[in-house]
Symmetry: none
Subunit: 200 residues, 4 copies
DNA sequence: TATGAATGAGTCTTCATTCAT
DNA sequence: AATGAATGAAGACTCATTCAT
């Protein structure tokens, strides 16, 4: 750990620099893996010198952590993005389809991030904690949406969790695996049907 | 240069050694992460010298790959273990409950392995391939079981895949996350109900 | 992985460092042999850390290659140093004596370099190529000198090559072997006489 | 260095083994270079176990040293092979041509040996000594031949040495370098002419 | 603030040599 | 005498982090 003082940037240009380090650093790490990305590359991608990185961050890990905080919620738990609407024109089926569409559009980076965070959890409790928090938040958010729209059921916690999980799997599947013999459109319909069924 | 030839052990004690390297090496890697485990530690855990490791394996990665081949199928896709029974006394619900029970019993190592493999996929195509193969095998296996027991449905491929996914998530959830407010017993029932529903 | 980029030093001090690595590294390698010299020693001799070596060079071999490029021409083929003069006051005999004198003055390092390069040729085609190029250059240079000074003969290529060879052997002999029963002064005269005879 | 007792083999099969280790070991080392050849390869090439090597030799270097002793004289100094004939039908020109022909036929291995020995000299005084002894022996042998055949001249030592050198260079040239623009037949004639001239 | 050159501990891998069988 | 499995020291190279400018 550096014993250098970490500074919070005040000037516009500095803020910009810090933001770029997080953005491009997180992106690189997610693309290539934490251990296959070195700080020189991150600095280069962010358009700064290697030295400056250590003025805004404690260490390489810190860049990743801040990247998770900043980006992963929307990437990993797209369900959080469903807006809470009036019961009148709310249609869960449409919303779910939209969530999946958006998530798939975010594609590769979201999946890479997922994998990298997923993995680093087990050597880094702080990563695990952030991830867990976000998952909980996503689940709670979903519960809130359902309640706001008068969709009630028993075991709402467990079901919400399951829904978040299934959507996550589906998106991952659509973006990545490309099993040659799968009909992804049908799969999506099945998933949504399953979710709706769960909530009946 | 790389002139060292890989030897396949013949003598009992040597076979034992190779097995230990895979076993303890894979375990360590899964526990601490591939990049946080060095060959010296693996050798020590297996009770051998560092040199011997390179008589049985091409490199550190090879240990992990062989570990996956050997352990991950049953760890990651416990569904593969369902035996194909006679239609007469086959009960899917019971089988699924057993699968989950066994999988959870396989405890931490399975989840760690999952995470590490999941992560290394994206920097190592060979890992990705092995993982994909095993997933496909698990899915096909499930389909076979269903057919053998006269359980038919449309979109069997997609549904089987989904089932494998959901069970995987559930097990992961039960073993690891420990969301304080979740009733895992209920969750398991919900999952199984959902699966049975899917196959109706 | 190999992500480290090779930097060409710009600042004065860095240029100095790179130069030192080549100089002292090449010297050490020539003295002790390529395989008996490790990168830590080279770094130490050059007064830098081991890490810096890999910012300026691809690998240990690269240090040696650049050393050859830089030093070996004048060391191994001192004939290249004969200046092209006017026919009027050009005297081949004098020139040859000077070449030998200079070469012998370059002493040990030249001979060690010779041996090491000579040897590494057969496991390293790039070394072989550089060496061959320099030999060809030396031969061509000699031919040019002879022509410029109106010394003509048949089979000029073959003879020039032979001359380069003989001078090389002589210098090696004078510097190194110290056969106790040899009269090196006489030997030098014989060599020069032989060369002059060849060109008659 | 091993503190194991070195045994001199007595039984036929053992003698054979030792001979093979020297033969194939020396060959391999000359082909691939001392540092690129490991003892496992040598043992394999000789058809013995690695352990046995250390019953007949102190260490890897010892194999090479004994190889030099045994093979290099005829390989490196083919002139030693000229038989001492009667003055009546002795023709130096013919003899020299034969020496070159034989030497070239011995080709690659002789040249590789040359390079390897040449190189190892400078990190190993014992190698240097053996090499020097053989060179001196070759020179003396040549002198003896000349004297026996009534070829006398001043500075016979120096000239003989030079002759050994030139022939060595020529053979090396013919076997290896393949300068595209050289007429090797002419070169050989020039060399022989030069030698004959030297002895006039 | 910013740069990027410099550091050196840490890692994988090889291989001469030993030793249990 | 022989085997070949086992050892572990040594070396090339990387990279997070620091520091002189």
């Amino acid at each position: 750990m550096g014993n250098q003082e970490i500074r919070e940037p005040i000037q516009k240009r500095s803020i910009e620099k810090k933001r770029n380090i997080i953005k491009y650093g997180f992106e690189l790490i997610c693309e290539k893996g934490y251990h296959n990305t070195n700080t020189a590359e991150i600095a280069k991608a962010a358009g700064v010198s290697t030295g400056i990185v250590y003025q805004y961050f404690n260490d390489k890990r810190d860049i990743f952590l801040q990247g998770i905080e900043q980006y992963s919620k929307s990437l990993l738990f797209p369900i959080t993005e469903i807006s809470i609407k009036n019961p009148k024109n709310f249609d869960l089926k449409t919303e779910l389809n939209n969530v999946i569409k958006t998530s798939v559009k975010n594609h590769k980076i979201s999946e890479s991030a997922h994998e990298e965070i997923y993995s680093l959890q087990h050597s880094d409790p702080e990563v695990a904690q952030i991830f867990l928090n976000q998952e909980i938040e996503a689940t709670n958010r979903l519960i809130e949406i359902l309640e706001k729209n008068n969709i009630t059921t028993t075991n709402i916690n467990e079901k919400a969790h399951l829904i978040v999980s299934i959507i996550d799997s589906l998106c991952h599947e659509i973006v990545y695996h490309k099993h040659s013999n799968m009909d992804y459109k049908a799969m999506q319909e099945i998933v949504i049907e399953t979710i709706l069924n769960l909530l009946k």
